[in-house]
Symmetry: D2
């Protein structure tokens, strides 16, 4: 016999541009550019087993709810949108015991001083992710995706074990580059979201720039621990760092030296380093990472 | 104070084409086209905390090991490659307590009867995923990605709750389409991998085609339970099914009827339905899904 | 002073699924899965210079027209849809002197014998592209995108010039692989489109498989000339063939031989070979390639 | 009989990171992050017709040449790299009569004041494209890709013709958004490349921001003509502007007003507006756009 195991459902990638007219400091417009995904779980056996949808708040309704809340809340921090939406689904639908709302936010820079013109800033994607559990309440994870950083020096890699398949040479100076995917958990669902995000981003960049690195793992832990140290609202940081290898080109056949000047970035394969920094007094995560 | 939490590292997307010359039934070549990712975990605190790499089997070595094993093993089923690689890392490196090896395999069809000409078949990607744990041993998960299927009828959707944000009309006939991402767990790390894969794929397609559907959740569970029923080596199936909405175009403004003939597929947003079918007697997964 | 130069505008990527219920041989459904782009040019100076839109048939209207024609025409060959749409725009809008309609068609295979279940076949994308000119009439180009083919042998590469930057070794046996992008021009806007497409595809595959190759350029011309020879309705073939390099892995450091068995496919850079085969008696293309 | 028509070949997407150590104003490093593609044409019939490669400077050699020139030239403007490479191929290979070199350059911003830390700036990709013809000499085209801009107001769209397929409502206030792909031709292969690029980019942004728009075509021509007016070295601008539609969400079913506040961006279909601004005294382009 076969039973139903873990399940959830929702609407993915609801795109919203929220314009707050005249709300900027100088009287111009503010915009928030969001990509919202919702996911609900609870007592959903009937639809799986018999196609009885009496407990299925449709994903179309979830989409409409995103639009309505974006309208009511205004151009708020993405964590606020996530908190209100996730609470709404759990409190309004008795059969839903847990809701996860993920908001990706894309940044825009003003063009000139017209107050209504913007250029999309592709440096990073901001992420806010809220889980609201019927019994445990809300938890908030924030993050960064797509932030590519590079150090031209201050990175060594040596002292690793050599087995029969090892051909890599040790190096005392290499390019270190990665595309940061970071997620951090807040101690409580209540913080100065904008300031915490800015602080986390700055701590991550500072740690990357200022760490003399012997491995990407070391740089990873330096990032995570600095974020926790500098932003007290954060209790845990998870990082996923592809090692974007840059290989020194062999120019000797052409009679040219190459003293760390000409590299080719490789696409695949790449190293992938994943790790966690955790405050000693971090509260239990509950379903925060669900 | 900040401590090191869960971590792992490896080489991602090592591409390999393995040619077995003359190994095909008619004397032609066999090819296996793989994308292999390895990930190791264990006692890796030193590199994170101090940059001491004495326990870090480099990701470059992991890549070399993939090539060497592909050479030694031949054009085997991808599960065999994963099992041997994962066991190798754990048994040869005392500080590594767990290895995960994921193999994506891309299919190719013969062109004509030359025996050496092939066209890539883009219908699906086959996945094999092995976790070898120092104490628990090996577990095998297989899967399918990118298989897009569509029913032109035999799909209804009605009887769902209506709240203040619900505008969706009920329907007794809609297009049902999804891009299947499936993963299934084997009871033991020993099976007829090719036959089990073929059986799982066929059961999934049959269930999709033959289920009169009242919700994508119902179709999901029908797929998973049929795979378990028809392939005894499988004890658990996890499916992630985006609902690729097809909307009936309103042709009334042009004086045209549209009796389920002209649809436009939407890109975003999409529903996302995730669920699990589990055999009643499924053994504990241990780290199989790690 | 600055003047307005060449310009055109249209709607890109109008997705349409056309279902012809009960139209298949056995009584099941036929489906056509299209991605249609329209582009119009003519006397459009006013909107560019002053924002006067009195001559601008909106791109929204173009989209609606695509849906309406898909409804009226049925599950026809994509060339037919392109011919009728392109003619419509030019003949109904006096200020439009030329219309280009491009249709991408995605293939689907039946699942089982239910008659309403399909799986998307990702082997290639079929392309049809019609230009209708007010004075010159219609011309038709068809094509294939995304068809990846590979020969495990029968490919050499040697005899090339060596300059101060040349390091490549000659080879008498290499993998030859490419992702075919082909476009071919028909002599007249009237052919058995399905048969011509099938014949062109088969001639291309046969030429790839049966040509003992000394360069990808040679294979390219063999493909194009065979397509013209075998499908009389075709007078010109343009091919764009990325050389998907497969490098033999050096296994010597591990004490392993590698007699053409283990390769790694590279992502970038890749060779890119572009060329044309033209029938001696090909008519003037006019704006066919516009 | 079938003859060989137009053809060319080269190496695409040669990735290069050029580090100029200590070359920045404050003593830090400068970096140039390039993606270089080369394409050669000339007397290449032999390889197509018989596989005789005696005139085929290999694409591998072309790749090596890119690396060597990047080494010799340093962290120069991308136009300089393109000019030197294109001239080299034509002057050193008698059978090559024309070379095209395209350089994409990705921007990086400094992190802090370390002098060796950078974050990739994803706002736009800079393009430089040189064609060197054996008889006509060099011509230079530069460009921008991936610059996404948006106006929250000052955009109307009305006065367009209405036919039987027109359903679009007129609007006196809409979001105007596009992802700019621009290419501009220089009068001569000699300019202050950095200043010209900066001026062109600024003129484009200013025109987008300051034009009260009645159509995207009008905005397009305003951009192009302003670039020509403000950067005298430019004689022609070609723009390809997808109209990234933002639709006002209908919130009435939820009892909410929506006075230009909540929009959903659509993915497909999109308008595509292409046009050219040309200085009255622009010299003949020759093969500049080849």
């Amino acid at each position: 016999m076969v039973q139903l195991g873990a399940n959830r459902y929702g609407k993915a990638e609801v795109r919203v541009l929220r314009v707050a007219r005249g709300a900027a400091a100088g009287g111009g417009d503010l915009i928030r550019d969001w990509n919202v995904s919702t996911s609900l779980s609870g007592d959903l056996a009937a639809t799986h087993l018999t196609g009885d949808n009496s407990g299925v708040l449709t994903t179309d309704t979830q989409k409409n709810t995103v639009y309505a809340f974006a309208s009511r809340l205004g151009a708020v921090e993405p964590e606020v949108l996530g908190l209100d939406l996730a609470a709404h689904f759990v409190t309004s639908q008795p059969q839903i015991s847990r809701a996860r709302v993920t908001v990706e936010e894309y940044g825009w820079d003003q063009i000139g001083d017209a107050g209504h013109s913007f250029a999309r800033n592709g440096t990073l994607t901001r992420v806010a992710r809220v889980v609201h559990d019927a019994t445990g309440g809300a938890s908030v994870v924030a993050g960064i995706d797509g932030l590519t950083v590079l150090n031209t020096t201050d990175s060594e890699f040596w002292g690793f074990p050599r087995d029969e398949y090892t051909t890599l040479a040790e190096t005392s100076d290499r390019i270190l580059a990665t595309e940061v995917s970071a997620r951090w958990r807040y101690r409580a669902p209540d913080a100065d979201w904008a300031a915490a995000f800015a602080g986390a981003r700055q701590a991550l960049l500072d740690a990357f720039s200022q760490t003399y690195s012997y491995s990407l793992q070391q740089t990873l832990f330096a990032m995570g621990s600095r974020m926790i140290a500098e932003v007290p609202a954060i209790c845990e940081v998870r990082l996923s760092l592809p090692n974007k290898h840059h290989y020194l080109v062999d120019l000797a056949p052409f009679g040219l030296a190459n003293d760390r000047e000409v590299y080719y970035p490789g696409d695949r394969p790449y190293g992938l380093i994943e790790g966690t920094a955790l405050a000693d007094d971090a509260p239990d995560p509950g379903p925060a990472w669900d």
